[in-house]
């Protein structure tokens, strides 16, 4: 059994696209198998991730303040925010669905913002942590991101179906902001390189 070593410290770079392992000595910058650019770690991982995270944090505010949709009944409008929609679902007895929307559109995005923030702080300040546990956290963040699009898809269905002249559902400005938050946090998770967590650990 050999000691556990990073591939990079032995002079190997793993291709991000096809998984091919390349010896770094000959300074070739593209993968011999799939031709993509080789990077030992994602380029500018921390800068890109923090920029994306900061923008999504700013957009998260209008996403929660403005109405995500308006139910227009016989001329009288009734705007709903994300939280308002959940309260309404739970009030009308749809508790499981209400909880589902609560998880997908409030808990997941906000814990993602905090989680990616923590990962960034951890790599920047070289905290000595249980890297395995933090990698699992990263994996959950990356997996769970797409499920927040639930609300956006629901709106596209409602706006299309409920359109009868007197009764209408109109998408609100928060929908755009919320969709942007989901997309930006997905990009942020993609740009973060979990290998940086391992690189910073002194005694592995």
């Amino acid at each position: 059994m050999q000691a556990k070593t990073n591939a990079l410290s032995q002079g190997f770079i793993r291709c991000d696209d096809c998984g091919f392992l390349v010896k770094t000595g000959n300074h070739s910058l593209s993968c011999p198998r799939c031709n993509s650019h080789l990077h030992a770690r994602h380029p500018h991982s921390l800068q890109r991730t923090s920029a994306l995270l900061f923008s999504s944090f700013l957009l998260y505010i209008p996403a929660n303040i403005f109405p995500i949709m308006t139910v227009n009944q016989f001329g009288a409008g009734d705007p709903h925010t994300i939280a308002g929609g959940i309260v309404e679902l739970i009030d009308s007895g749809m508790i499981p669905i209400g909880l589902l929307v609560l998880v997908a559109s409030i808990l997941v995005p906000s814990s993602k913002l905090i989680g990616i923030g923590l990962l960034l702080l951890c790599t920047h300040f070289r905290w000595q942590i249980n890297a395995r546990r933090w990698t699992v956290m990263y994996r959950i963040i990356a997996f769970v991101g797409r499920w927040s699009m639930l609300d956006i898809f629901m709106i596209s269905i409602l706006v299309d179906l409920v359109n009868f002249g007197e009764v209408q559902i109109i998408a609100g400005p928060a929908a755009t902001a919320f969709a942007a938050v989901v997309i930006l946090t997905m990009f942020a998770a993609e740009n973060f390189d979990p290998r940086l967590l391992w690189d910073n650990q002194k005694n592995l």
């Binding site: 799939c34 898809f153 009764v167 290998r195």
Partner: protein
């Protein structure tokens, strides 16, 4: 060529000796626990068959009405595409584009690419675009949100039931079938095997010419 006998974990960069796995076995990274590889039975044949099925199912699920609702005697039906158009008509074009990409465009491109790749590998035809297709398919994976859309349909149904009775159409059944097919497709596609075969095909082609 710098082909080595080693492998590296994509998430913690641990240098590994790759295990020779039998079908049904799984390899996890000993340090971070990531699932490294999981060879599937007849991966190429199954991927080819599933992509054909998915490609055929795609059109009814996008074009046929998924559900309908009647309010005050007026009836409305909706399809995947009409939802996108409705958002466009309300000047919500950024959201419309995102919904279009995640629920229609990317799934279609993904299925077409896996059809092309597995077809080429199945018939052992070489193509210089195989590598590019394979890379695109890999990067698209995360942006396909069919199952999230399904959850959106369920929530929308619950909200609409309060307003009026709902009717379900063939589009919805085709869409559910499409989700099952795409899930099977991603679980049967063995990335490692596909890359090995692509490289093998290219070498044979180089030797022949």
């Amino acid at each position: 060529m710098n082909s080595t006998n080693y492998d590296a974990c994509p998430e913690c960069d641990l240098l590994l000796k790759p295990a020779q796995l039998k079908i049904g076995e799984k390899a996890h990274c000993p340090r971070c626990g990531l699932l490294l590889s999981r060879p599937r039975k007849q991966s190429i044949e199954r991927t080819f068959a599933l992509s054909i099925t998915g490609f055929i199912l795609f059109f009814p699920s996008v074009l046929l009405p998924m559900m309908g609702i009647t309010v005050l005697g007026d009836a409305n039906t909706g399809t995947l595409l009409s939802g996108v158009i409705a958002l466009f008509n309300e000047n919500m074009w950024p959201v419309a584009i995102v919904v279009f990409l995640a629920s229609i465009m990317f799934p279609l491109v993904h299925i077409s690419l896996s059809l092309l790749i597995s077809g080429h590998l199945y018939f052992k035809r070489s193509n210089r675009y195989l590598v590019t297709w394979m890379r695109w398919m890999y990067h698209l994976d995360e942006w396909i949100m069919l199952e999230v859309y399904m959850l959106g349909i369920i929530v929308a149904c619950v909200k609409l039931m309060a307003i009026a009775p709902l009717k379900f159409g063939w589009g919805l059944y085709a869409f559910i079938a499409l989700i099952i097919i795409t899930t099977l497709l991603t679980s049967n596609l063995d990335n490692r095997l596909f890359w090995q075969r692509i490289e093998q095909l290219r070498k044979e082609n180089n030797n022949a010419s």
